[in-house]
């Protein structure tokens, strides 16, 4: 289903412990050892890379292909069946404008989908250790049974106090407006939302492409809708309305369906464009708006510290501001002596800093069971945090009926965004409460809520409780990019090596 040109190869590189028979993988790993590897191949987040690291998307890309198909099919039908009539009877400018719009829409969609949204690279082991030291020093000694306070730094920006949270997965204090996307398992700068329609997160680097995509798509759907109606009207003027419709199925079999698709799309996409126009003009992200971070309902003198004060400057800054480069350097070659970022390890140097061999063979079943056990063990330690907002968001192009696709977006917060009055999908978002209705990556907590220094001892207990039939080697072997799994696995291997 995916382009699959250069999908990252998952290799069994810990051959001495890997008991699973995977000879085709091993021969591949031998080959790979000779060629220098690129950084995308050891990227710790849950992303897919194509074209040798040039293209970066989220793991679940099915809905993106649906978006692409819907746009292409509807536009294709328009150009094939309506444009000839309109060009000859009205003006040839119609297909030309339509074509330009269509190409722009596609360009912006691909740009939004394929680019890095602004992923923050994870901390190097030294950096993480330094931060831990600082935090321990700040917290002081803790007595038995004392739960350390949540790791938060407060900073004053333009007179507003903003809390910077510590991300347990990435081992960093998140910059303001950054959020951790649990679908992609990355911290993203200026995180807006994770968009399944686009197949990627929407963040600092691709927000303008996303906005231009939905804006131009609104124009395109209105354009197609208007001219398909015009076509039917012109035809009915000539041969009567009923005859026009009768002709329609016979000669232009899908005009009716086009109208239906466009009708629903117009409302949802235009609504979404309006919502994002509001967000841009007030310099807020979807995340902030849904949480009500800068709403005056929270506190009397609450205001948005990032806003430039006037609508025009906010719009210009969002759309025409400087284009930041990608921070993750996915196509760079891995240098053997440079420290590699952690993927949710204990940070105490359990393994050599070259984390090149963190990608293992994929066995979803074992990953899920391990994750479940760890989360069950860690649940009492967690504090609730509406972090899962990171993965929700209004869908940008609802070309199909609103019920089905919207069920894939599950905001964990019950409060409605105050500024989404006419949005078609808002009704559906209200009814969705169960975050587990979403893809299997979501359990009742998000990975970043796991306090990182669980320690190997606490990992032994869940596995013992699990009946002991998951031996370390078997666990170790099928680790994938799942950072939680890697953490548990490292702990176990350390134990087994003692």
């Amino acid at each position: 289903m995916h382009l699959g040109l250069d999908e990252p190869v998952r290799e069994c590189q810990y051959n001495q412990i890997c008991t699973r028979n995977s000879s085709p993988m091993e021969t591949l790993s031998h080959k790979k050892k000779r060629t220098p590897r690129r950084k995308w191949q050891i990227f710790p987040g849950r992303n897919r890379f194509y074209c040798n690291g040039r293209v970066m998307m989220a793991r679940q890309t099915g809905v993106f292909y649906l978006t692409l198909v819907l746009i292409m099919v509807t536009s294709g039908l328009f150009f094939a069946f309506d444009c000839p009539f309109l060009a000859s009877n009205l003006t040839p400018a119609i297909p030309v404008i339509g074509g330009v719009l269509f190409l722009f829409v596609l360009g912006m969609l691909l740009r939004a989908s394929f680019s890095d949204p602004g992923v923050l690279p994870r901390a190097t082991p030294d950096e993480a250790a330094d931060l831990e030291r600082q935090m321990d020093a700040a917290n002081g000694s803790s007595g038995p049974g004392y739960r350390p306070p949540p790791r938060i730094r407060e900073v004053v920006i333009n007179g507003q106090t903003v809390k910077l949270k510590y991300c347990f997965t990435c081992k960093i204090f998140r910059p303001p407006r950054a959020s951790h996307c649990s679908l992609c398992d990355n911290c993203v700068e200026r995180f807006d939302h994770h968009c399944p329609w686009v197949g990627n997160c929407v963040g600092k680097r691709n927000y303008r492409f996303f906005y231009l995509f939905i804006l131009s798509l609104s124009f395109l759907t209105i354009f197609i809708f208007a001219f398909v109606i015009t076509h039917v009207i012109l035809r009915s003027n000539r041969s009567g309305f009923l005859n026009a419709l009768k002709d329609s199925p016979a000669r232009y079999p899908l005009t009716g369906r086009e109208v239906v698709v466009c009708f629903f799309s117009v409302w949802s996409i235009v609504g979404l464009s309006g919502f994002h126009t509001y967000l841009i003009s007030s310099n807020q992200t979807t995340n902030e708006d849904i949480k009500g971070s800068w709403s005056t309902k929270r506190a009397k003198n609450n205001y948005n510290p990032y806003s430039y004060g006037n609508v025009l400057t906010n719009c210009c800054a969002a759309l025409c501001g400087p284009l930041h480069p990608s921070l993750i350097d996915r196509r760079g070659f891995i240098q053997p002596d440079t420290p590699q970022p952690l993927s949710h390890s204990n940070g105490s140097g359990l393994y050599p800093s070259t984390q090149n061999h963190t990608h293992m063979c994929d066995q979803e079943h074992c990953i899920q069971s391990t994750k479940f056990v760890l989360q069950a063990a860690a649940t009492p330690l967690l504090h609730s945090d509406p972090v899962m907002m990171g993965r929700a968001g209004p869908p940008p192009s609802g070309k199909t009926s609103l019920g089905g696709p919207c069920s894939s977006l599950a905001p964990s917060q019950p409060s409605l965004p105050s500024s989404m009055p006419g949005l078609g999908c808002a009704g559906d978002m209200l009814t969705l409460r169960d975050p587990d209705a979403h893809c299997h990556h979501h359990h009742f907590v998000s990975p970043e809520e796991m306090p990182s220094p669980l320690g190997p001892s606490s990992l032994v207990l869940p596995f013992a409780a699990h009946g002991g039939h998951l031996n370390p080697a078997q666990l170790y072997d099928p680790a994938s990019q799942d950072s939680l799994h890697e953490d548990s696995v490292r702990g176990l291997v350390k134990l087994s090596s003692v």
Partner: protein, 145 residues
């Protein structure tokens, strides 16, 4: 990033004693700016004034990269009109300034910090979340004071 031959010599000859991290300063918002507070671990190694000057220049360079004004708007509009294909041919303003920063860091390392047994890492390699300063051990090679 490419390291100069002086720095490579450092790494071969001296062992890393410790690393100091200068964190970001978010008081002015999300723009890239580092704290200019002098870390206590460097007290014995480098002059406070010198260090603060380096950090201030670094902050100024980042401010130049992120500046929103006529030039950036022009670049943004032009890019939008060409559907962002123009960046296949030219660099963004931000990337140009990042190169300038890399040159600045290299120059500072060569002239000031390497002779003192210190190494500044370009922040872009770390996020840019931190300025990583590697302190090398004082060996009998004559580093340090």
């Amino acid at each position: 990033m490419a390291e100069t031959h002086i720095l490579q010599d450092l790494q071969h000859q001296a062992a890393i004693a410790s690393k100091v991290y200068v964190q970001r300063d978010y008081n002015s918002g999300t723009i890239c700016k580092f704290q200019t507070k002098f870390p206590s671990e460097l007290e014995s190694r480098v002059d406070k004034q010198q260090f603060e000057e380096t950090m201030q220049t670094l902050n100024n360079l980042y401010a130049e990269a992120e500046k929103i004004g006529g030039k950036s708007y022009l670049e943004g509009c032009l890019a939008c009109m060409t559907a962002y294909t123009i960046f296949l041919c030219m660099e963004t303003h931000y990337e140009k300034v990042l190169k300038k920063i890399a040159r600045f860091i290299k120059e500072q390392n060569e002239k000031i910090y390497a002779p003192l047994g210190l190494l500044l890492t370009d922040p872009i390699e770390r996020g840019p979340r931190v300025v990583e300063i590697t302190i090398f051990e004082d060996r009998s090679i004559g580093f340090g004071r």
